[in-house]
């Protein structure tokens, strides 16, 4: 059951990170129209263009990808620590209960 819960949490985390990284949806029609309006730019394909000199429509939001990556890492580590701590707590309580039972019945 705890494995299932951890799996669901991991999937939710993945989806949330992906949604954040993708940002608002861009329709295919808009992309095609934009590409057609620009026309062929052969000289751009043959030359190196520093990333900061790219036109705005060709730039991806780096900060969004960076934040999504760090949020995912820290959230995954945090969830794992919580998950292991909870499992340790459950097992320890069960051990203490059984040891008390054994002591009560004089079999310890």
């Amino acid at each position: 059951m705890s494995t299932l819960r951890a799996l669901v949490a991991a999937i939710m985390l993945l989806v949330a990170s992906a949604a954040f990284a993708f940002g608002p949806p861009v329709s295919a029609d808009n992309v095609v129209a934009q590409a057609q309006s620009q026309g062929p730019k052969q000289e751009q394909q043959n030359e190196f263009t520093p990333i900061e000199q790219l036109p705005p429509q060709e730039q991806l939001p780096a900060a969004r990808l960076l934040i999504a990556a760090y949020v995912f890492v820290l959230a995954a580590l945090f969830l794992y620590v919580v998950s292991v701590s909870r499992r340790v707590g459950v097992v320890r309580r069960e051990v203490q209960r059984l040891e008390a039972d054994l002591k009560r019945t004089g079999r310890a």
Binding site: A62, Y70, A76, V91, E99
Partner: protein
């Protein structure tokens, strides 16, 4: 838990708190810009993924050939960490690649072999969880395959044509980028040791619980 556990946990926590400051102050890489800063957590998590697979493999081999139950617990703990650090690597990598390469995923040798290694670790956990009697030996065999994949993952970028950077990049980093990287790697190593110890402790408590149930039934 041993006496060193809490002090090391505090040091590790402080390092994770300090790491964003170091990463923010590191210079921008010339061609990739801001998104390259994913590297400071991506590379250490990838290294820990490989280390976890090796620990799992060695412990499994010792369990298979020497029959030591403690080694089986170490292997199970390490397999879980391989899945954890593997998923971190496989999620942060594409987030970086989307900006740097223009694609989320490329079926090149480094990425594909890493995915395979992660799937072996997931298979190990599934076999242990749902395999029933004898699954410990079957899973140990799987872990050996996982470990055999590790050198292939590491050296693949040096031998095949791939868009993933080669292993020679890290030693050539300037100090301003190298220091945050080694700082983060140290934090991840400490975290790995702490999590491995905690996870082994969980397995030992489970073994204790099983022996208590057996003594009640007798």
């Amino acid at each position: 838990m041993p006496k060193w556990y809490i002090p090391v946990a505090i040091v590790c926590g402080l390092m994770f708190v300090a790491s964003p400051l170091l990463i923010a102050n590191a210079p921008y890489e010339a061609t990739m810009g801001l998104v390259q800063k994913i590297f400071y957590y991506h590379m250490p998590s990838a290294i820990m993924f490989l280390v976890a697979a090796v620990v799992c493999g060695i412990a499994s081999a010792r369990y298979l050939f020497a029959g030591a139950p403690h080694q089986d617990r170490v292997a199970w703990a390490a397999a879980e960490l391989a899945v954890l650090f593997g998923i971190i690597t496989l999620v942060t990598g594409p987030l970086w690649a989307r900006k740097a390469w223009g694609v989320w995923w490329q079926w090149d040798v480094r990425l594909t072999s890493s995915l395979m290694g992660w799937m072996v670790a997931v298979a190990y956990l599934l076999v242990r969880q749902y395999g029933g009697a004898g699954s410990d030996k079957l899973a140990a065999g799987l872990a050996l395959f996982g470990m055999a994949n590790v050198p292939f993952i590491y050296i693949s970028v040096n031998y095949w044509r791939t868009i993933h950077p080669a292993t020679s990049v890290v030693p050539t980093l300037p100090v301003s980028m190298g220091f945050p990287l080694w700082f983060c790697l140290t934090a991840f190593v400490l975290l790995f040791v702490l999590l491995l110890k905690l996870r082994i402790y969980l397995e030992e408590e489970r073994a204790r619980l099983d022996s208590l149930y057996l003594s009640i039934e007798e």
